[in-house]
C-alpha cells in the first residue's frame, strides 16, 4: 500500500489547513478592497466633476467675442447698449465661474491659466465702471473697451488651450488608475481561481486516494472476516460496555450460543471465571483483564455445563471506542490428556522405582547368602581336604564367584540406569590402573596362551583425573573379553592422548576370533552373547559390554569397535579426561605377608547375621586373634563399654540400633573402648556411604563379602601404637597426693571432691535439658574439670574437656551426646575411686 506523494505532502494537519485558510482569507480581503476601490472609482466617474469643463473654457472666448461684436455693433448703431451690458454680464458671470468653480480647481494651479484669468479679470474690472455707468459715458468709452477687449482675446484662448492639455492628462490618469485597479483585481481573482483549481485538484486526488484506501480496507476487512470465521478457536469481540460485537462459528460451537443469540448480549454470558475464582467479566463493563498471557478459566456452555478453557484478551483502540478481542479454547480434552499423562508418568516412575528397589533389595538378599557360601568355602579351603574334595570345592568356589559376578553386574546396571552412580574424580595413574587389570587377568590370559602388552602415552602423562573404580571396571570387562575370546594370541592395551588436552583414547585390541560384521552393533546390547567356538568357555551374562557402554556414556566418552572375523577385534574408548601430567613414581610398598605380622588383638565383632559373624570370627581366630561377638548394636555397646578392645568390626545394617548409631555411642560414651578403632562392614558399596561412615567415626569400610585378606589388611593398617585407653582413675596421681598431703588430708580432700562432683554432675544433668551452654553450668563444668584433673579422674576430666570444646565449637549435638555419658562416667569413676582404696572413710556414695 503506497501512499501518493500528494497525499503525504498534504496531510491536512491542523497547521496546513490554518495556513491555507489564512491565505484564502487574505486573498478575499484583497479582492474586496480592490473591488471597492474600483467601485469607488466607478462611482467617482459616475458623478461628474467636470461639467464639460472644456465647453465652459471655450465659451469664455466665445462670450468675449460676442461682447466685442456687441460693442462693435453698438458703435455702428446697429445695437443698443442694453445688449452690450447683457453680453458683458454674461462674460462677467462666466469669468466668475472660472475663478470660483470647483471643477477648475486643478487648472487654477497652472501658471498660464492663472495669468490668462488674471488679465481677463483685469479687463473686466476696468470695464465694469463704464458698463455700470450712464449710457453716454458708456457710448463714449466703447472704442476703448473694444480695444482692450481685443487685447485679451488671445488670453481667453490660452485659457482654453491650457485646459485642454491638463484635462486630457487628468482623464488619462484617471483611466490609467481605473485600468490598474481593474488589472490588479483581475490578477488577484485569477490567482484565487488558480488556487481554487489547485485545491480542487488536490481534493480530487484525496478523494481518489480515500476511495482506494477504502477499497483496500474493505479487502482487508473481508480477509480478516474470513480468518475469524474459519478460525478454530472461539473469537469473541466485545465493546467497552461489555456487549458482544462479534461471535465466530468456533465460539458458537464452543459455547453453544448461536450467532444471533450472542451478538448484542452482555459478555457475562461466557461466565468466565479465573483460576482463583475471580469473575473476569462483570455485566455492563469492559473486561478488566487484558493484554496478559493466556489464562485458565472456567467457562460455561449454554447447556449449563462448566468446562475448563484457556482465554487471552487483547484490546484494540482507546477509551470508549475500545474493542476487546477474546480468544477462547476448550481445554477439556487437553486437561484430560494431561491427567492421563500424569497418571501414566507416575505409574511409570513408580514402576521404575519399584524395579530399582527390587533390584537393590533382591541383590542384597542374594548377596548375603552368597557371602555366606563364599566365605565358608574359603574356610573350607583352609582345612584339610582330599584332592577330589578340593576339586569339588574349586568348582563350588568358581560357581560362587561367577554367581557373585553376575549379581554384581546386575546391580551395576541397575545402579547406572538409575542414575545413582556419581563419579568421584580423583587423580589416578592410568598405567597403574591398567597394570592392576592386567595382573588380575594374567592367570586367565596365561591359561589361554595369550600374551598381554601395555603401551602408554608417548609423553608419559598417564596421570589423569577420573573415577578409578569406573575406569577399572571398563578395563576389566574389555580386557577380560579380549582374554576370553583369544587363544594363543596377543592382547594389546594402549593409552594415547589425541591432543594436548585430550581426549584420551584407550585401545584394547586382540587377535582373537573377532566379531561378525552383522553382530557389531548388537554386542553392546544387554544380554547379548555371540555363539562362538569358545562360547561355553567364555561364559557371561552378556551384560559386560552393556555396563561398559553405560559407563562410557556417563563419562561423556565414545565407544567404538572394529573387528574382522578370525583376525581379531579392537575396542576404542575415547574419554574426555583432564590430563594431569606425569605420575610421580609411587612407592609401592610390597604387599606384606600379613599373617602373623601383628600381635594377637582383642576384637569385637558386632554382626546380626549369624553366618557372617561366624565366618569373620573364624578367620580372625585362625589368624590368632581373640574374638568377642555381639549380636546387635546394644550388645556391642555394652561390651565395648566394659571391655577394652583393640578393634571393633561393626556391621552397619542391623535392626534396632544400626552400626553407625552404635559406633557413635561407643565413641562418645567414654567407655572402655571409646578410643578403639571401629571398622564398618557393609553390603552397600556406594561411595557416599563410605563418606558417611567415615564422618560417623569409622576408621575404614569393608564391603561384603569379607575375605581373609581384607581382614588382614585392616589389621595391618592399624596404627602400631594404639591410642591410650582412658582410665577412670590415675592411681599414680592419687598416690602422689597421699604422699604429699598425708593419708588423712588426702582422704578428706578426695571425699569433698567426690561430694562436690556428685552435686555438680546432678546439676549439670538437670540443666542440660533443652538449653544450650548456660554460663553457670559452664563454670561448674570447668571447675569440676579442674578438680578431676587434680585427683586423677582421667575419664571424667577428658569427658568434661571434650564437652566444653564441643560447645565452644558450636557442635551442640556432639556436646549433648557426650554429656549424656557424664552420669555413667561419674558413676564408674566413683566406683573406681572406691576400689582404689585411697581413703578409708566411707564416702557419700549413693
Amino acid at each position: 500500500m503506497t501512499q501518493s506523494a500528494l497525499f503525504r505532502f498534504l496531510p491536512l494537519g491542523r497547521w496546513r489547513a490554518a495556513i491555507i485558510g489564512v491565505v484564502m482569507l487574505a486573498f478575499a480581503v484583497i479582492i474586496i478592497f480592490l473591488s471597492a476601490d474600483v467601485l469607488r472609482q466607478i462611482a467617482n466617474e459616475s458623478e461628474s466633476r467636470s461639467d464639460n469643463a472644456q465647453w465652459a473654457l471655450s465659451q469664455i472666448e466665445v462670450e468675449l467675442i460676442q461682447f466685442l461684436l456687441a460693442v462693435d455693433r453698438a458703435q455702428d448703431g446697429d445695437e443698443d447698449l442694453a445688449r452690450v451690458r447683457l453680453r458683458f454680464d454674461v462674460l462677467y458671470s462666466r469669468l466668475q465661474t472660472l475663478q470660483v468653480g470647483s471643477v477648475f480647481a486643478g487648472l487654477r494651479e497652472q501658471p498660464a491659466y492663472i495669468a490668462g484669468i488674471d488679465r481677463l479679470a483685469r479687463f473686466v474690472a476696468e470695464a465694469l465702471p463704464l458698463i455700470d455707468g450712464p449710457d453716454a459715458a458708456l457710448r463714449a468709452g466703447l472704442p476703448g473697451v473694444e480695444a482692450k477687449a481685443q487685447q485679451v482675446v488671445p488670453d481667453a484662448r490660452v485659457i482654453a488651450l491650457t485646459a485642454v492639455e491638463v484635462i486630457a492628462r487628468q482623464s488619462d490618469q484617471k483611466r490609467r488608475d481605473v485600468m490598474r485597479t481593474l488589472i490588479l483585481t483581475a490578477v488577484v481573482t485569477a490567482l484565487m481561481i488558480a488556487i481554487l483549481i489547485g485545491l480542487v485538484v488536490v481534493l480530487t486526488q484525496l478523494f481518489r486516494e480515500s476511495r482506494r484506501r477504502s477499497a483496500e480496507n474493505l479487502a482487508t476487512l473481508s480477509r480478516l472476516d474470513a480468518i475469524v470465521e474459519t478460525a478454530m478457536e472461539a473469537i469473541i469481540t466485545v465493546d467497552s460496555a461489555g456487549r458482544i460485537v462479534d461471535f465466530n462459528d468456533a465460539a458458537s460451537d464452543t459455547l453453544g450460543y448461536g450467532h444471533h443469540e450472542a451478538i448484542g448480549a452482555d459478555m457475562a454470558l461466557l461466565r468466565a471465571v479465573q483460576a482463583e475464582g475471580q469473575m473476569l467479566f462483570r455485566v455492563g463493563s469492559a473486561p478488566d483483564f487484558h493484554g496478559r498471557d493466556r489464562v485458565r478459566v472456567t467457562a460455561r456452555h449454554k447447556d449449563g455445563r462448566n468446562f475448563p478453557a484457556e482465554m487471552s484478551i487483547s484490546r484494540a483502540g482507546e477509551g470508549k471506542d475500545a474493542l476487546y478481542v477474546a480468544f477462547l479454547r476448550d481445554l477439556s480434552a487437553q486437561i484430560a490428556a494431561e491427567k492421563a499423562l500424569i497418571i501414566a508418568r507416575d505409574e511409570a516412575l513408580a514402576g521404575e522405582k519399584a524395579k530399582a528397589d527390587l533390584l537393590v533389595i533382591m541383590s542384597h538378599e542374594i548377596r548375603t547368602p552368597l557371602n555366606g557360601m563364599i566365605g565358608t568355602m574359603q574356610l573350607l579351603d583352609s582345612t584339610e581336604l582330599r584332592p577330589h574334595q578340593r576339586e569339588y570345592l574349586r568348582i563350588m568356589e568358581m560357581s560362587g564367584q561367577l554367581l557373585m559376578h553376575h549379581v554384581n553386574d546386575v546391580l551395576d546396571i541397575a545402579r547406572l540406569d538409575s542414575g545413582k552412580a556419581p563419579f568421584t574424580l580423583a587423580p589416578a595413574d592410568l598405567a597403574a590402573l591398567v597394570g592392576e587389570v592386567m595382573e588380575n587377568q594374567r592367570p586367565a590370559s596365561q591359561a589361554n596362551g595369550n600374551g598381554m602388552h601395555y603401551g602408554g602415552p608417548a609423553d608419559g602423562r598417564s596421570l589423569v583425573l577420573c573415577d578409578a573404580a569406573q575406569l577399572r571396571q571398563i578395563l576389566l570387562n574389555l580386557v577380560g573379553n579380549a582374554v576370553k575370546f583369544t587363544r594363543n594370541g596377543h592382547i594389546r592395551i594402549s593409552v594415547t592422548h589425541l591432543s594436548d588436552t585430550g581426549p584420551t583414547e584407550i585401545q584394547i585390541s586382540d587377535t582373537g576370533i573377532g566379531i561378525p560384521n552383522a553382530d557389531l552393533s548388537r554386542i553392546f546390547d544387554d544380554f547379548v552373547t555371540l555363539d562362538a567356538t569358545y562360547a561355553r568357555r567364555a561364559s557371561g551374562t552378556g551384560l559386560g559390554l552393556g555396563i561398559v557402554r553405560r559407563i562410557v556414556d556417563q563419562m561423556g566418552g565414545q565407544l567404538r569397535v572394529e573387528s574382522q572375523e578370525g583376525k581379531g577385534s579392537t575396542f576404542r574408548i575415547s574419554l574426555p579426561l583432564v590430563i594431569l601430567g606425569v605420575p610421580t613414581p609411587a612407592v609401592v610398598p610390597d604387599a606384606p605377608d600379613l599373617a602373623g605380622m601383628v600381635g594377637p588383638l582383642v576384637v569385637l565383632v558386632v554382626e546380626d547375621n549369624e553366618f557372617n559373624r561366624m565366618i569373620v570370627r573364624t578367620m580372625l581366630v585362625q589368624d590368632g586373634h581373640q574374638v568377642f561377638e555381639a549380636r546387635d548394636g546394644e550388645e556391642g555397646i555394652a561390651l565395648a563399654n566394659t571391655r577394652q578392645f583393640d578393634l571393633i568390626l561393626m556391621d552397619i545394617s542391623m535392626p534396632r540400633i544400626d552400626g553407625l548409631v552404635a559406633a557413635r555411642k561407643i565413641l562418645l560414651g567414654y567407655g572402655a573402648s571409646c578410643r578403639a578403632p571401629i571398622v564398618a562392614m557393609t553390603a552397600h558399596a556406594l561411595a557416599e556411604e563410605g563418606v558417611r561412615f567415615r564422618n560417623g567415626g569409622m576408621r575404614d569400610v569393608l564391603v561384603k563379602p569379607i575375605t581373609r585378606s581384607m581382614l588382614r589388611a585392616v589389621v595391618a593398617g592399624l596404627p602400631n601404637v594404639m591410642p591410650k585407653p582412658l582410665r577412670l582413675v590415675d592411681k599414680r596421681v592419687l598416690l602422689t597426693l597421699v604422699q604429699d598431703l598425708g593419708q588423712d588430708r588426702a582422704g578428706a580432700l578426695v571425699t569433698r571432691f567426690l561430694t562436690e562432683a556428685a552435686s555438680i554432675v546432678e546439676k549439670v544433668a538437670k540443666g542440660l535439658v533443652g538449653a544450650g551452654p548456660d554460663h553457670e553450668v559452664l563454670r561448674d563444668l570447668h571447675r569440676l574439670e579442674g578438680s578431676a584433673a587434680m585427683f586423677g579422674a582421667e575419664t571424667l576430666q577428658t569427658c568434661l574437656s571434650e564437652v566444653e570444646t564441643a560447645w565452644k565449637q558450636g557442635m551442640a549435638d556432639d556436646a549433648a551426646q557426650r554429656l549424656t555419658a557424664l552420669r555413667s562416667v561419674w558413676h564408674n569413676t566413683e566406683v573406681a575411686f572406691q576400689e582404689a582404696g585411697v581413703f578409708a572413710q566411707p564416702s557419700s556414695l549413693r
Binding site: A43, S46, E47, S48, R49, S50, D51, N52, Q59, E63, Q66, L86, D89, V90, Y92, S93, R94, Q96, T97, V100, G101, S102, V103
Partner: protein, 170 residues
Amino acid sequence: MVLFRVMRMVAFVLCLTGGAAQAEAMSPADGQVILTVSGLDEASYPGGMQQFDLGMLRSLGQVEITTSSIWTEGRPVFTGVLLSELAKTLQISGQRLRLHALNDYQIEFPLDEATQEGPILAYWMDGAPMSVRDKGPLWVIYPYDAAARYRTDTTFSRSIWQLDRIEVLR
C-alpha cells in the same frame, strides 16, 4: 431635508390658494418679464405664449434648496418654483422642453423628469434676486448635495443659468 419638504407644502398650499389649476392664460406680467414660455396651446394661450415676471413666479412657488454646487462657493439657499409645478400650471406634461439662456446656451429637457424634488427655477439666491452677473434672473437648480444622481453630466448640463425662455416642443 425637512425644511425642504415643509417649504414644498407651503408652496403647494400657496399654489392652491393661488388658484393654479386654471385652464386660461394668466394676466400678463406687469413687472419685468424674466421668463417667456412658448409653444403652449394656442387655444388657451394667445400666440401660444405666456410671460412671467418675478411676482408671478413667486406666487407659483417658493421652494428652497440649500446645496453646494460646482459653480458656487459654500452652500447658498436657492429659492424658486418647481419646474413640475410650472408645468402643471401651464397644463403641459409629457412634452420635451427647450430651455434657452441669455448667453445663447440651450438645452432640452424631458418634462417627465421634472419631479417634486427638482429642478427648481431659482429666482432668489440667499434670499435676493440674482443679476445676470450672478447667473440670474433664473437658474435651473437641482439638489446636488442630496444624491449622486443629481451630480451627473446630464444634470449639470440642464442646470442652465441666465434662463429666459422655455420652449415647449411638440
